[in-house]
């Protein structure tokens, strides 16, 4: 009988001993989960004809556009974007590459800085361009990305010819998107 009573008391104590140790759910305010995503972007393999018009005259500025509607789901979390651009130029001419963001009316709203200057006959060169946090909102107003290549007049007066110039201008690019998931 004593065993029975003892067991009952033990069971009751066991059932009612439930408690908690110190936890602090306010720590949620301090959560910062930093994740980084890589995305492949554009690439170019341009040769002499790409810089000549129909009458084989050099084009000073050539450009192209990408329509890219960007969802703003990531708006609260995207902190920074870092573009990596790798260029290689075997032309004996300088180039300048500018990337401009356009709104839905094709009005320029943001120009990536710095503009990339590619020297004549330059080997592979890597340029990293960053969009800081304060400029991120421009991304969400962007409907078109414009790529402008400036092809200045040569200093020695030489020009490129469609038939005998095998030079190339190559460009590779990627983007790193830095997120901070601080709202769970």
């Amino acid at each position: 009988m004593k065993i029975t009573k003892f067991t009952l008391v033990a069971l009751i104590i066991l059932f009612f001993q439930g408690c908690t140790k110190d936890v602090d759910f306010n720590q949620l305010d301090d959560v910062n989960i930093h994740s980084t995503f890589i995305a492949t972007l554009i690439y170019l393999n341009l040769t002499a004809p790409d810089f000549l018009d129909d009458s084989n005259k050099e084009i000073r500025v050539t450009n192209d556009f990408i329509e890219l509607p960007i969802s703003d789901d990531s708006k609260p979390y995207l902190e920074k974007i870092e573009f990596t651009v790798i260029t290689e130029n075997t032309f004996n001419r300088n180039f300048r590459l500018s990337i401009t963001f356009y709104d839905e009316f094709r009005q320029p709203i943001y120009v990536l800085q710095p503009i990339i200057n590619i020297s004549e006959s330059s080997p592979e060169m890597t340029t990293v361009i960053e969009i800081p946090k304060q400029d991120i909102p421009f991304i969400y107003d962007t409907e078109y990305f414009g790529f402008d290549i400036f092809f200045p007049i040569s200093t020695d007066g030489s020009t490129i010819f469609i038939n005998d110039d095998t030079s190339t201008f190559n460009l590779k690019s990627s983007a790193k998107l830095f997120f901070n998931h601080n709202e769970i």
């Binding site: 067991t7 009952l8 301090d30 980084t36 690439y43 170019l44 050539t62 790529f147 790193k176």
Partner: protein
């Protein structure tokens, strides 16, 4: 509010599977017939208190506990999250199961068979979370050449009503067998299993990187979630679907009790060997294909401007094909297996008559095994138990269980019978009661029955 939601999620995540190791074969309760239709009960008849004869809640998350993240110990929460992510296994799972008995009754027939019947509602959820997806969310995809795979991604969710009728039959002094037929009425079902595919990034040729969706094969089947005919998911809808208005199915439980010797007993059961034929409000999604992207090659041809984005989207849609399927499908219920071997000892001493009761042992100890076998997930748990009849009115059972959640799961059951009134309560993970936030799993069952014993 988001904190509250997160907290509630974590509490739910301290969840359960469907192992009722404390209740199994405990105290001759009517509910043991639901775990083993071949269990022995000795009452003349019983009635469960409507809506209160069994409330069962179980849940678990194998990954980490609430305490792991929110312990107030001065360490930055981000470090604790990082540690939890680092300790995350190849695949962790979260499971929640809830059952509510609406009614339950039983009576002994003239041929001494025991007929039992009832109706209960069940909600079941299980998700397997592969580490690859956690790493992809937590770190991103900067790990070049790493394949982030969805091969282990699977889940199931179901809400259904179950009407059941079972019979327990004593064949001879050694054998008792039983079976239970079930009719399922499913309110909703969603499942995804046998998924394949991975996402990875490698060094490119034309561009810096080349990104792949490789061998993607994803199927999610649903019924009762998307509505075609203007129905709405409200209380009256749920009620009508639970009561035979939903997608119907059939199932069977079988079980036995074998007295190997006077003191050794072996029991076993197979539960929910059945299926639901999903024919109403069915919608399934199938995603299949391969896709690789090295980037967009710009042509700088102003005379022939290209719509790069539309072309890219079309190419993606052609490569990774999403089909919506409205075809009926059959979902199998997760099968549960129970087995136990027990040894009874210590015959009861009658203090009043100074006699030993030859037919009744007050102690029982043994070993139980539980397993669920399902298309989405399989699970195994092993239990050691000790059961003791404390007095004429009280019976108790203590269990030690090792399962994927924990190797220190102590459970306890109490059953009291005063006259025809029976009440029981079982719970596990009692060691974690000193800090419930540190539980990775928990379960409890409780209920009230009116049990009428045979006067003989």
């Amino acid at each position: 509010m988001r904190k509250l939601s997160f907290f509630i999620f974590l509490l739910y995540a301290i969840g359960y599977t469907q192992n009722k190791q404390v209740l199994y074969d405990f105290a001759g309760l009517p509910q043991t017939l639901l775990l083993n239709p071949g269990a022995e009960v000795n009452q003349k008849f019983h009635i469960g208190m409507p809506l209160l004869s069994q409330l069962s809640v179980q849940g678990g998350f194998t990954g980490f506990s609430t305490y792991d993240i929110f312990v107030d110990n001065g360490i930055d929460i981000n470090d604790k999250i990082k540690k939890a992510v680092n300790n995350f296994g190849k695949t962790e799972f979260v499971a929640i199961n809830q059952q509510l008995e609406v009614f339950n009754g039983g009576l002994r027939l003239k041929n001494n068979n025991y007929l039992s019947f009832g109706y209960y509602q069940e909600f079941d959820f299980l998700a397997k979370i592969p580490r690859d997806l956690v790493d992809l969310y937590y770190d991103g995809n900067t790990d070049i050449n790493r394949h982030y795979s969805i091969n282990k991604l699977a889940f199931r969710a179901e809400l259904l009503g179950v009407f059941h009728v079972g019979m327990s039959k004593k064949i001879n002094e050694k054998w008792n067998v039983g079976a239970r037929a079930k009719i399922y009425s499913s309110v909703f079902n969603a499942s995804s299993k046998s998924n394949t595919g991975s996402f990875f990034t490698e060094d490119g040729n034309q561009n810096i990187y080349k990104q792949h969706l490789d061998n993607i094969g994803f199927l999610m089947q649903t019924s009762g979630i998307f509505f075609e005919n203007g129905e709405e998911f409200d209380a009256s809808y749920v009620k009508s679907k639970l009561l035979f208005g939903g997608n119907l199915g059939l199932g069977i439980d079988v079980g036995f009790t074998h007295h190997y010797s006077k003191q050794w007993t072996i029991t076993g059961s197979i539960l929910d060997l059945g299926f639901v034929n999903n024919t109403k409000n069915v919608r399934s999604y199938r995603l299949k294909g391969d896709y690789e992207l090295e980037g967009l090659q710009l042509n700088f041809d102003l005379n022939n401007p290209e719509n790069y984005w539309t072309d890219l989207k079309n190419e993606f849609d052609d490569s990774i094909v999403l089909d919506t399927v409205y075809k009926s499908y059959i979902s199998f219920r997760p099968v549960k297996l129970n087995g136990a071997a027990s040894y009874s000892f210590g015959q009861k001493y009658d203090d009043c008559r100074f006699l030993i009761d030859q037919g009744l042992y007050v102690n029982k100890m043994g070993f139980q095994l539980f397993s669920t076998v399902g298309a989405v997930h399989s699970y195994l748990a092993a239990t050691l138990f000790y059961e003791r009849r404390l007095s004429k009115y009280f019976q108790t059972k203590i269990t030690y269980t090792a399962d994927p959640y924990s190797f220190t799961n102590i459970g306890l059951g109490l059953s009291t019978q005063i006259g025809i009134f029976n009440a029981y309560f079982t719970a596990d993970n009692l060691l974690s009661l000193s800090n419930i936030y540190d539980m990775k799993s928990a379960s409890f069952q409780l209920g009230i029955n009116f049990i009428f014993k045979d006067k003989n």
